[in-house]
């Protein structure tokens, strides 16, 4: 066994595929799906859909009760942020253990990050009182590609949200480009 030979970047990236992003177990939402956060969201986006905030309308509708805006799915399971030091952590709401795929690419000079794609699928709408959990797995890391902003790797991860019974309620595929910024030519 020639253990002295360092792992190549490609080998290190390959080893990350299929591994979780963040904690090993599922992240659990700090609060159940609730009316105050829905009302806050609806106000911020000036979304007047009565299914989200009008109990009488919702009861008489095909929903039968208040439902959460489907695109709030991600919000329910975000950690409660530690505001102190958030800028120093590069915007991460909480301390992150280990460097993960972003750290491996940062160390290799691919320090730029650009969000590329988001694809949400919803199995069903959520009701008040439900507690969600989420797991995020790295689905793929592309070989180095040349892009107009510099060479980089596309990282794709998939987050799956489940209800208390373990049933999947929604998924998101999210893809970012980690790139090595190139100075503009003359």
């Amino acid at each position: 066994m020639t253990s002295a030979e360092p792992e190549s970047l490609a080998q290190r990236l390959e080893a990350l595929v299929g591994t979780p992003v963040g904690p090993a177990g599922p992240s659990v939402g700090p609060d159940p799906v609730n009316q105050p956060m829905i009302r806050h969201w609806a106000a911020a986006f000036e979304d007047a859909n009565p299914a989200y905030t009008d109990p009488a309308w919702a009861e008489a509708s095909s929903f039968g009760e208040i439902v959460a805006p489907p695109l709030m799915l991600q919000t329910w399971v975000l950690p409660t942020p530690i505001i102190t030091g958030i800028a120093e952590r590069g915007g991460s709401p909480v301390e992150i253990e280990g460097s993960g795929p972003l750290g491996v690419l940062d160390d290799a000079g691919f320090v730029g990050t650009l969000a590329s794609n988001s694809e949400f699928e919803f199995e069903r709408y959520l009701h008040l009182g439900e507690v969600l959990s989420a797991t995020t797995i790295i689905e793929s890391i592309s070989p180095e590609k040349r892009t107009r902003i510099g060479p980089g790797h596309f990282i794709t991860w998939v987050t799956t949200w489940r209800d208390e019974a373990g049933e999947v309620v929604g998924r998101q595929m999210f893809r970012i480009l980690k790139f090595r910024p190139e100075l503009a030519g003359p």
Partner: protein, 141 residues
């Protein structure tokens, strides 16, 4: 009122939605989605990261997509899928204009496919597709 699957034809345009984007709009959206990344509320931090100003977070972009879809289709429309490709960022004192078209209709499943885009004066912020389930409508109810 919510549109029914029988009300639609391929090629129908969705009702456009124009968001007058200010710093307040961007910060309100970031906080309501519980995204405290400083690039979405702290101009000095955003500048230190090479951006000219704070910019809209992706959770807000997605939130406006769902509002655009259900403002047009009505409150009983069910959003099944929103798939977007991200383009130029959205900075304060800009406009974000959503437009879309019905690309296909499946009466059997009462599902409609939409193509959509949200543009700024600097270019497309996002382009994508979405699926909605609508009431079936018709005489047989």
């Amino acid at each position: 009122m919510t549109l029914t699957i029988r009300d639609l034809a391929e090629g129908d345009a969705l009702t456009p939605m124009v968001i007058a984007v200010t710093a307040t709009v961007i910060v309100a959206g970031a906080v309501a989605t519980r995204d405290f990344m400083p690039v979405h509320h702290d101009k000095a931090y955003a500048e230190s990261q090479g951006a000219p100003d704070i910019f809209m977070n992706i959770l807000s972009s997605n939130a406006y997509c769902s509002r655009f879809l259900t403002d047009w289709a009505g409150p009983e429309a069910v959003v099944r899928r929103v798939a977007i490709r991200l383009g130029v960022p959205v900075f304060p004192n800009s406009t974000l204009t959503f437009t879309g078209t019905v690309s296909s209709i499946d009466v059997a499943t009462a599902t409609v496919e939409i193509t959509l885009q949200a543009s700024t004066p600097m270019g497309d912020h996002l382009t994508g597709t979405a699926s909605l389930c609508l009431p079936r409508g018709g005489a047989s109810g």
